[in-house]
Symmetry: C2
Subunit: 83 residues, 2 copies
């Protein structure tokens, strides 16, 4: 399954707790879209979030975010993992 | 130690092999800068690369890339890893 890294920029009012809750919601709805969110990284001060997921398409990855909490990514980039 | 995700954009003539070689060079020079490159992901068609590393500073992370192969990142973002 393709791997994607997405980038969310300037997320307003982000806190680690709110982000963990949003990620949990992603995990709860991802199965119906065939997506698996694997990890995320964030910079609280900048409001930047990176999510790594396996998904059948870029659109499916975004559909999970849209359904779970509405916070879609600014960019979704298909990636290969380096060895 | 702080964790950083960096982004390289529009890397010309990138191939998985060239990237693996560049990453290997990072690993060879990182110790003197106190940096540990952990993983990378890339999109060959777009010429985009993301590197995850532990480093004492953003500047130290870039110094490794500069010394190893000259390909510094366009952005280096300090991150926390989500759980």
């Amino acid at each position: 399954m393709p791997l994607y890294l997405d980038i969310h920029r300037n997320v307003k009012g982000m806190t680690p707790k709110k982000l963990a809750d949003a990620h949990q919601k992603d995990l709860e709805v991802q199965d119906k879209h065939g997506v698996k969110y694997l990890k995320y990284w964030y910079n609280e001060g900048e409001g930047t979030v990176f999510c790594l997921c396996e998904a059948p398409s870029k659109e499916a990855a975004q559909a999970v975010h849209r359904e779970a909490h509405g916070g879609v990514a600014d960019e979704v980039i298909e990636v290969e993992e380096g060895s």
